[in-house]
Amino acid sequence: MTHSVVGKSVTRLDALAKVTGQAKYCTDIKLPGMLHAKVLRSPYAHARILSIDTSKAEKLQGVRVVITGEDVPPKRFGASVFDQHVLARSVVRYVGDPVAAVAADTIEIAERALELIHVEYEGMPAVFDVEEAWQTSPAAVVHPDLPEYQLAKFPSLQLVPERPNVCNYRTVRCGDVEKGFQEADLIIENRFTTPRIQHCPFEPHVCIAQLEADGSLTIYAGRQSIFLAKQYLCSLFELPPSKIRVIASYYIGGGFGSKVTLYTEPIAVVLAIKTQRPVRLAYTREEMFASGGTRVPFVIHIKDGVKRNGSIIARKMMMLLDMGAYAGSGPFITRNSIYGIVAGYRLPNLKVDAYAVYTNQPIVASFRGFGTTQVVWAIESQMDIIAEKLKMDAVELRRKNLLKEGDMNATGEIVHSIGLRECLDKVADLIEWDKNTKQEKGSWKRGKGLALGNKYSMAPTAAVGVVKVLEDGTIEVRESADEMGQGCITVLAQIAAEEFGVSMDRVKVVWGDTNFTPYFSRGSTSQRSTFNLGNAVRLACQDAKRQLCEIATQKLQAPPEDMDIKDGKIYVRSERSKAIDIKELFTAERELLPGEFGNYVEKKGEVVGKAVSVTPAAPSDPLTAQIPSDIARQGGRLTAFYGYAAQAVEVLVNTETGEIKVERIAAATDVGYPLNPKMCEQQIEGGVSMGLSSALWEEVVLDRGKVLNPNFRDYKVASASNMPKIDNVKVSIVIAPHKDGPYGAKGTGETQMTPTAPAIANAVYNAVGVRIRDLPMTREKIIVGKRHKNEGQQKKQAR
């Protein structure tokens, strides 16, 4: 099928506003009478609050209100476990836990007021290590009242009474893993870890809360998922949906998952209610690192049973996920990380045990990959270890175990739209896998490595699309995906342009206001906007076209089934000369000047197409995570779709300094069908660079729960000079159309970050023989690894 607008790299709708500086973000908004808020945070990882004295702060000129735990709702909030008060009420659980907040005329006054608040604490034992916290008798229980807490209905959570810090336990049981190990020729067991990293969106968390005269709340937020925020806030403040309006009808300065749950909003709301004034709360970069949410650190034990021919016949994984002090999306990540395990390879026998564990560390958040990046780190490092033991080529081993179209994966889903083999072949070709690496003289050693990756999109979800036909024939798309740089407004406009047969300048997009734009459950998360909302917008266009044709029946003297719409005209298919302009359907009430546009449509008022696209999830067994095979055979799925990727890199490693330079990258991603190829490339290149940065440098370093590097000097993110030459970054888009995606498209925001770190680790091993199991791959780890390897060799020789 050929398309005229989708599939083309049309210019981004937001590009002009962004290169001229005209683009507006939440942080740019000022409201009349607006106050500025600051938050006093706990300096201790675990302590009881004995007393708080705010009297001095309240007396400071320009301070309008000071609030503490006594002023916030007694109800707790959360994304899965309702474990968090807006401000700590008696106990603080991490360094950075909000204890008090101030609203003042200026930020400086608010900051000074914080210094005048006196809090008396009594220290409590704290637990920082996830493996320690997981024990049956841990050094500290972070939430002793956990059994009494409210738990979200979805995802359903499972507590483990004998392990008091565990807030979710998820399992997969497929086949008989012990029997598989008995039949294996080789057993390989390893432990891998991923660190706490921060998303570093360039616009830090920010919101403005305003109390309206009727008692309703308006919240301007720089966030993802306006409807999720509305749902959370309705529940926390016990308000009906009509009383809360969340707005993000401007641009968001990056998200990467960090802006999905609540951070600034609840505190700003309490301050706005107290002062009856708009209150703005903006996080500093330092607060982003300490309290803005981080990626969930994983400890992963992986044990594989492999046949001599390379087939993996059994895999067992035990994973501990560090939730920090409040779980946020963490228990959800625990559940969904299993989808990353079952995605790529045939696993006849699989056993997974995953625990979400509280510690007194900083809070976690969803993060591009949502658990898949962490499990792929372990699996793809392990695959290379297996290949070496079997003396098998790493590409060959992967090819041998790949799932293919129509296979059943280890959760019972039937595999559909899998371009993984093509991705693998493509990167192997681009990196010249079969050519030997030319070794340099001196301390720089060269090596190649590759890895596969994947990312599902979650189900169940619902997306509503609305399109309004304007009086000049322009198509207005109304939607509630968040434009945080991924380009959703451009893609949705392309879909509307395609459906109406018009050019891009005949389409306009309005977005981001729960009062006016339609429901989009979890917003732009789980790389779902193109797939879910794309479908909804496409169907809404078809609905609007159907209505237009019906209205045109009288004027065209033809049945609507015989009509179609293109270039702003409704025409009769069997007699193309019979056509009218969409404009002609609009009646002008009072023309100011002759020939002006009409104002309304007779009888209907306006033409608004609407549609909902629901992606259901099949029921699965809570213990085995399997869907019943009859449901699977009928197309039942646990996920909406899977995106797949492969990456291959060539690195230089300095054996003296431990420095790693990534010289070449080949990245292939299966996007289903690229609706805008250049924007797919943007996502791939961006994912690779974030993957590279997280592989080599990124880690929020903690000392007894306190962040030691909360700034871009001490927390390094990749810069242009760290990336390979532009000609050495080869990006390839693989097409594997999905039957349920709009024009075959899947989403592709997250997939490409998953294989980067293991591809680099495998290349480093190839270069210097050092196997890194704990990210990031710092220079120290390379040097220490090299030393151990040398000592090992010397011992062998001595024997």
Binding site: S9, T11, R12, D14, A15, L16, A17, K18, V19, T20, G21, Q22, A23, K24, Y25, T27, D28, H199, C200, P201, F202, E203, P204, Y251, I252, G253, G254, F256, T284, R285, M484, G485, Q486, G487, K678, M679, E681, Q682, E685, G686, G687, V688, S689, M690, N711, F712, R713, V717, A718, S719, A720, S721, N722, M723, K725, I726, V729, V731
Partner: protein
């Protein structure tokens, strides 16, 4: 104590009353409404607040507003001339060098000073020159491509 200060921004004079400790970034954004000056770290590490002061790229969160007195300040809002985009702005659009857009102002102004100072900068020099301007979305490939393309265009026009 707030003091009167005259600032010349994008060719126009403005009188503002500022505290002596207020940063140029804050005054440009909050007092004068040049919100194209993006503040991301406020510690001079990320480069998103880059503006041009007397021809040099400056991280405006690190310069006090009074230090810019009598100097020519250019923000992203002042880059297009007579309604025509600067070649760098055009190239950033055409080469898909923009995603969330938060680093874009600083990135373009940094690139402009780089190319003004060395019109024949190599890819290596451009990447090194941008090493104080972070971008979390793009992976820099399309940014560097855009700057290289703008360079050709600017040199051709010279």
């Amino acid at each position: 104590m707030k003091q009167a200060l005259e600032l010349k921004v994008n060719g126009q004079l403005y009188e503002v009353f500022v505290e002596p400790w207020q940063s140029l970034a804050e005054v440009l954004r909050e007092e004068l409404g040049f919100t194209g000056v993006r503040v991301s770290c406020n510690t001079g590490d990320c480069g998103s607040c880059t503006v041009i002061v007397d021809g040099k790229a400056v991280k405006s969160c690190l310069m006090l507003a009074p230090q810019a007195k009598g100097k020519e300040i250019i923000t992203i809002e002042g880059l297009a001339q007579d309604g025509k985009l600067h070649p760098l702005q055009e190239a950033f659009i055409d080469h898909f060098a923009v995603q969330c857009g938060y680093c874009t102002s600083g990135m373009i102004l940094m690139a402009k000073t780089l190319l003004d100072e060395s019109p024949d900068a190599t890819e290596e020099e451009i990447r090194a020159g941008l090493s104080g301007n972070f971008c979390r979305c793009t992976g820099y490939v399309k940014i560097v491509e855009a700057i290289m393309a703008a360079k050709e265009k600017m040199n051709f026009a010279r």
